[in-house]
Subunit: 458 residues, 2 copies
Amino acid sequence: MTNFRAVAIDYAHLNHQRFLDALKEFVSIPSVSTDPERSNDMLEAAQWVADRLRDLDCLNVQLFPTAGYPVVYGELMKAGPAAKTILVYGHYDVQPAEPLELWESDAFEPEVRGDNLYGRGASDMKGQVMATLAAVEAVSHNGGMPVNLKFLIEGEEEIGSPNLEEFLEAHKDMLSCDFAINPDTGMLAADLPTITYALRGLAYFELRVYGPSHDLHSGLYGGVVHNPAQVLCDLISGMHDSQGRVTLPGFYDNVRPIDQDEREELSRLPTTDAFYREETGVPVLWGEVGYTPVERVGARPTLEVNGLYSGFTGEGSKTVLPAWAMAKISCRLVPDQNPDVVYRQLKAYLENHAPETVRYEVKQLVNGPASISDRQSDAVQTVIKALETVWGKRPAFRREGGSVPVVAHFQTYLGIETANFGFALPGDNAHGPNEKLHLPTWQRGIDALVHFFFNIGE
Amino acid sequence: MTNFRAVAIDYAHLNHQRFLDALKEFVSIPSVSTDPERSNDMLEAAQWVADRLRDLDCLNVQLFPTAGYPVVYGELMKAGPAAKTILVYGHYDVQPAEPLELWESDAFEPEVRGDNLYGRGASDMKGQVMATLAAVEAVSHNGGMPVNLKFLIEGEEEIGSPNLEEFLEAHKDMLSCDFAINPDTGMLAADLPTITYALRGLAYFELRVYGPSHDLHSGLYGGVVHNPAQVLCDLISGMHDSQGRVTLPGFYDNVRPIDQDEREELSRLPTTDAFYREETGVPVLWGEVGYTPVERVGARPTLEVNGLYSGFTGEGSKTVLPAWAMAKISCRLVPDQNPDVVYRQLKAYLENHAPETVRYEVKQLVNGPASISDRQSDAVQTVIKALETVWGKRPAFRREGGSVPVVAHFQTYLGIETANFGFALPGDNAHGPNEKLHLPTWQRGIDALVHFFFNIGE
């Protein structure tokens, strides 16, 4: 009897270069969803994914229009009605590549250097999408797929999936399945396969403070006009207390505490103080007093300044008293915080603290809830086995600091659990310059997905 | 006997359009000293001034090289050794025009709309330089100049005149004179001629705060890394106390107090709370407790944020935890503060307050002392008379918030007093978009300069 599993693994290895070439093609499409000038590239990326699904003999391949960018959908249902059906989630959009000058090679001309492929989206998450497509090809072209698959590859994950809920609501029947897999999460280390059972939510805001009606000469007016850049700094500075806690009123009211069992499990992870210092290059860590680094990143909410802008920022000096100042501010949320409630908390903070000398505006740009999954589910157990086969060790369980609101949305709209396991590494620079994908880990990820599909079918 | 004074005034009025055309030509040269890409325009502006001095029959017209942009010099010494000699100061450089999108007409395509000429430098100070040239032409072409003139028109005023002291030191003999006039100051209102007897100094800094070695994903690292944009905001926020006072250690130690007489004189100026609110469009003024607006702008030091930059500042959202953050910060200084001492005070503040989680750098970009002049000097008395003749009222005396370090330098290197009187108006938007020159006031300014030259010669 043919060992289809071994044949499929061999096939995946023999075709490594072809899969890598396909990934390079995918990465070379600058599908930056936040940039309106990239809308043609976005459609090209969606079409690219649809073409690959057709190559896999998927049926019902479509680009479903939304109010924003289309959702790519396709079905591979050859395993028959008795077999399980899995929803494969992914996204074809990427973060902006700026600042471009910090890239060692062009962000959208993917380049292999050493063991890594460099390019925007190589890790987050075009590499992960391609790993799934490669594993499906390896399995289905060598004995047939033992499980039914539905693919949902969206184009707005990096801008907070603003149209996904409506899509899920409208296509509940089409999307019905046993559970979902989402490879948009990472591993704790190249030798430590990881299952992410909790994800933080995101509430992203833009705050603008307006002072004088126009830029002023800082000599002629300095001393009588409240500088809006200074006010913005005062407001931001007040958003944390001396214990590293966020001061928005009621911010911690709905935060689910971590129990002692979970604290002990998290304490066994290798993401120590030293790990984070090495990854980030900072001399000393910082954060909320009373929690370990892994707890602060996974199980506690935060507030970050993502951008600041005011006045003159060029070379040299300009003695302007600026008319306005802007900050991008975002909160990572944990169960059971609600992004809309946090928006109201931010507005309440501003009402309490903004001086009468200025005017301000705050806009909500992204809005995604946190999620936490059942570690005992069938889906998760099947993943554990596949990861153990490839890496030879039991995977780590962790809460991740990043946000994949789709996991909460799948619970809400489709009533399904999601197994979150992807093959990105901590040093991949997702969202930063010189984003990369570690190719040996990527290959192991393809192997693990092959095993996962066979495990499900058994 | 010919009334040369009346003839010169008529000449100035008859040639208004020609003088205005010359000014438009001057304004159309984008001589932005802080922008290295404008260096050819800077030389063109210097050459333009030198050509005008030659048109006036000046001798010894030269572009004196410096480590930066040249000083334009010329002499008109026909009044003979018994007559007084006056040094006419000006600058041919301008501030950057950015943000360009806020200009209603191109910053470097000067346009007359209504009573005003719009363009970068129209008011600060190409218009003032041109007024002086026009007055000299009107007087010297109609009976001869009753006073000797030396022109010193520099190209680095807007970047803090970094090479002027060396030039003054090296050319003391050439520059010897009775006193200087400097039209690089303004009037309190179109119907209120103004003499500025004190000017604030300037100490301009760039502060950079460095956190992680590269931009991070705010989800994966938010909670363990001290955000440098947040630290920058904390540091800036701490630079003022709740009374609007600057907290740099020792900042007020050398500030010369204002005595009761001067407070009373300043209280008579029309620059009231309502005036500043109208000029700036802010609902409520702000500033150091215990001082009136006119005192805060003229006689008290300040600290302003001139620019802020960090992370992602484009459209939409990017969930970056930025690697660094930058602020442009400047202090306006009063007698007897020293800009180098203030630099040390800023460094001491940062040493006391910067957390160990980040690294920072602070650079001193501009460095100019404050100055205060003798209100009883001959020079000032002659100006009073000229302004009274044209406006029919005694001029106001004020301290100005802006910085003209050259006045202090003239005291130090040449041992001379400077009469500071120019014809810019509060609403001219010097340094902001839509800078303009009020042409009826400009014409009166030319008349006043004509009278001033005759007064000196009497």
